[in-house]
Symmetry: C2
């Protein structure tokens, strides 16, 4: 098999990364994908750097056994915490995270240089988005806010209505309900779960704010990386299914909750259980 | 050391079990405790029986190395899923769960036999409370409802106010906002996180409903078991601190969020990191 015909490995702590997979598939419809959700150990967003690095290396090693041609770290927390160690250990395999593309797109979108980032606890505490944005634009003013309840809401499929909006107001009003001269003009969604909440977020931050979905920007980054490394798959019909779904626990829940993020109905039979040896 | 002078081991998936620890300490002020929160793998409430059994056995084995005289499984999900295997593997060590005592108290409290149970996804799906209540009272009508957002709310310290009440109405109105002749007269809190939400829950279900906190009932069950087995610690002053806190990940977060559940301020230095070898 041609190396470029191999699948793209996508790794996430759970099912939220299916928003990234969906964006990758939309941008790169000729590619094959193997998605691994480490559902046995989710969420990563509350765990330490050491644990997240270890989990990410175990997940990557399983995907490499599936002969993937590159790795997309769909999980923001793992991108923030473990991208360096993954690149070092897996070289020369291309490894794409979601933080750098999101930061880059945030910088491009912002005119005022005031950028807000919403993410999990760990991503915010790790400061990865601030660091990545500063590398792109040294004068940017970044406000990062941890929004852990958004994760629980999205996983429950509670993605619109007054409860979601009230929680969004609670998290965001002190950032956005202020005079325009101080208000950020750009909001980066720094967690895979958040794209499904885009409608209530739009209502709360207003029409003037650009919302950057790091799933979309990661898809562009992957496309460029495949082009650069000559790994883009030729548009030939394939009998293989375009997607394999692997999970470390709970096929039923993966299918039920995953459908929200993939935007398609899944059944437990679509999901293969794998063991990361832990 | 006298066997009865040994500490009581308390095990939970994270910090929610500190509500149980608090109830145990209030009931048994002369006892010593070692609390282990498996924060590296929380939450259990969305994971499979196989994983939960394995995690519980690993946690118990670590506590047994600490020479505990008995084990309290503070986690409802682990009590529901893994109590049988723990009792079998650890015999003759006394093992107390929170489900049986909660079910028993629910049956005692209910006059109508209509009992509602709120818990995590896994606990509800496993049907453990229904089974335990049926064993006590064959004619009881049990309505179980998974309330996963309550866990996220409690962990964020968002334990009162309109957002919490709106979510409680969403979960509970079809059970409680109905004519009294069909309404349950008892609500069992089947998750360690829920006692901190008791005020908004009370507002939503009304004053007529008895709310059973399984932390309190587990404390009574433990007291009885210690008396039965002659393991009750004598009321002698001890130089040893009454509590050791062990966690598998994230001392800072354990201290910050754990304080909400223990009802006391904790610092990261109060928490020892341990490795379950995974």
């Amino acid at each position: 098999m041609n190396k470029s015909d191999r699948a793209i490995g996508v790794f996430d702590s759970g099912v939220g990364g299916l928003t990234v997979l969906r964006a990758l598939r939309a941008r790169l419809p000729d590619e094959l994908f193997v998605y691994l959700g480490d559902t046995a150990r989710l969420p990563y967003g509350t765990k330490s750097r050491e644990s997240i690095e270890r989990y990410a290396l175990q997940a990557a090693s399983l995907l490499i056994k599936q002969e993937v041609k590159c790795l997309v770290v769909a999980c923001n927390t793992a991108s923030a915490m473990a991208l360096d160690v993954l690149r070092r250990e897996l070289a020369p395999l291309p490894v794409i995270g979601v933080v750098e593309p999101g930061a880059e797109a945030g910088c491009r979108a912002s005119r005022s240089g005031r950028i807000a980032v919403i993410a999990t606890d760990s991503t915010v505490r790790g400061g990865a988005y601030e660091a990545a944005i500063s590398r792109q634009c040294a004068t940017a003013q970044v406000t990062a806010r941890a929004c852990p309840l958004f994760v629980a809401l999205a996983e429950e499929g509670l993605i619109a209505g007054p409860i979601v909006e009230a929680i969004a107001h609670r998290y965001l009003d002190d950032i956005f309900a202020i005079p325009e001269a101080q208000r950020p003009d750009t909001l980066v969604l720094g967690c895979t779960h958040f794209p499904v909440l885009i409608d209530p977020l739009r209502k709360v931050v207003g029409d003037q704010v650009v919302i950057v979905d790091s799933a979309l920007t990661a898809a562009v980054a992957l496309e460029q990386e495949l082009a650069r490394t000559g790994l883009r798959r030729a548009a030939v019909p394939s009998k293989a299914a375009w997607l394999r779904l692997l999970a470390t626990d709970g096929r039923e829940r993966f299918a039920r909750v995953g459908g929200i993020f993939l935007g398609a109905t899944l059944s437990a039979e679509d999901v293969e259980l794998v063991d990361l040896g832990v």
